[in-house]
């Protein structure tokens, strides 16, 4: 039974998702001791060749997948409208080389061994529905996909085995993607950009929730939380409420800070 992480990394004008993937793979190796497969495009690989010539050694396998379509989204409080390549995530089932896979976003700062607790579960599919900000507050936008619609699930972290059930789930994600503008109308969500969290949520709902949920909370830092320090024991943010030290895996909305941190470590 093979086990490993799968990450997707496609750079845009400002954010080197390739670099985020390399840094995260190093953390996964160090803390979780598991292999990582990266899915990227040639441009991202070329960029990494310049930034980190030995980047391939961080990964178990490298899968090249050119981004067939792009969309744009705002990063931060409306500051930067950048291209966003996130449309191949539904291919994870076809791509993964592992029997058990944790599909994870590159902007998750791994600090604990929590994710290793998911391996060997009796469930075929584990999805994430529990999340709070750094102060433990839950927002309604991460409870329902819209006020009157269905339950919200994060696509940010997901565990799956290669089974018929999960194949069906990922096929359903592709169907949702193909019919997204209509489904966006039905579920009262924006039609652009396509959001994988919504694709996950709609697919799960339409299949009658063939998944269990990840038993721990996904902590996220917002665009307003400034990353100021990382150590082996915690990561510190400057927030509206002062300095906040976190010893937990954190989903970083503010990719700029993460890139800055990685660049400092490189220096």
């Amino acid at each position: 039974m093979t086990r490993g992480f799968l990450v997707f990394a496609h750079n845009n004008e400002h954010i080197s998702y390739g670099l985020l993937a390399v840094s995260q793979a190093e953390q996964i190796k160090k803390i979780l001791n598991k292999p990582v497969t990266v899915v990227l495009d040639q441009a991202t690989a070329t960029d990494l060749d310049n930034l980190r010539p030995n980047w391939k050694s961080c990964f178990d396998q490298v899968v090249y997948l050119e981004s067939v379509a792009t969309q744009t989204k705002r990063y931060g409080a409306g500051k930067n409208q950048l291209t966003f390549h996130n449309l191949d995530r539904s291919d994870a089932w076809d791509i993964t080389p592992y029997d058990e896979t944790i599909l994870i976003d590159t902007d998750i700062l791994i600090q604990t061994e929590n994710l290793n607790k998911l391996w060997g579960t009796s469930e075929d599919l584990l999805v994430c529905d529990k999340s709070t900000n750094l102060y433990g507050n839950k927002l309604s936008e991460f409870t329902w996909i819209s006020d009157r619609s269905i339950k919200f699930y994060w696509a940010t972290i997901c565990y799956f085995k290669k089974t018929e059930v999960t194949e069906l789930f990922f096929k359903q994600c592709k169907w949702v993607k193909e019919n997204y503008s209509w489904l966006a109308h039905v579920h009262e969500i924006p039609a652009n950009p396509l959001r994988n969290d919504f694709v996950w949520s709609i697919a799960l709902h339409s299949l009658g929730h063939p998944a269990a949920t990840i038993p721990f909370n996904l902590l996220y830092s917002t665009y307003d939380d400034q990353l100021i320090k990382t150590t082996d024991h915690y990561v510190a943010f400057l927030t509206a409420n002062g300095v906040c030290k976190i010893s937990h895996d954190v989903h970083m909305f503010n990719k700029y800070d993460l890139i800055k941190l990685i660049n400092q470590e490189l220096v």
Partner: protein, 257 residues
Amino acid sequence: MSKGYLVMAQGEKYARQSEHLAHSIRNTQSGVSRLSVITDQDVDCTLFDKVISIDEDLAANSKWKIENRVKFYNLTPYEETVILDADMLFLSDVSHWWKMFEKYDLLLTSKVLTYRGMKIINSPYRKTFIHNQLPDVYSAFTYFKKSKITAEFFELVKHIVANWKDWTVRYSPEYSQKFPSIDVAMAIAVKILDIESQVISKFSYPTFTHMKDNCQGLATSNNKWTRVLGAYKGAASFKIGAFPQTGILHYVEKDFI
């Protein structure tokens, strides 16, 4: 033991709703499917097991017409009865519930759901119950069998409704309702008789989907759920918004039918 459902339908609107209710029970229930109606209207007799007339109208001067509901115990033609509200529809088979009901003399609904299947907690309509530590019971689906304790219970409910002000001053002084409410009267009776543990199920049923607008967990209040949520009837399913509905729907809004 004879078993059946019983509904009160006073006034034209409720009479028509009770007919829809009768259709839905016939179409979905594999077990108990008899429904009798207590009414002051002409109804389609073929839909009902028995049509019982309201002889003495206790609600003649009442806007909400709920005072006659204290007569359920005396008027039921069944030894085991489930009383229902007229503005309900059965959407799937709940016949297996009756097996569990046999263990009880009286069983009140205390868990109701939103259209998204979430348990309703801290409903803004339930301040009287919360602030007066009354059991959070819903009379819209209530089981009882003829017995000494249920006779006593309904007699007490009747007394509370008839002397509403006196009882509410004592048992629900906070957020007190000016007009009689069967839910509150039953809650007070349960509290006085100290039978809460005997009349509330530990299981997830009986339950129903309660479509009171402000209970749905929506960020915006819309006054009527029918203004903002679509209802869709397919060949084999019924949906509100994106959610397939099963069990019993208490649709509340009269324009829904």
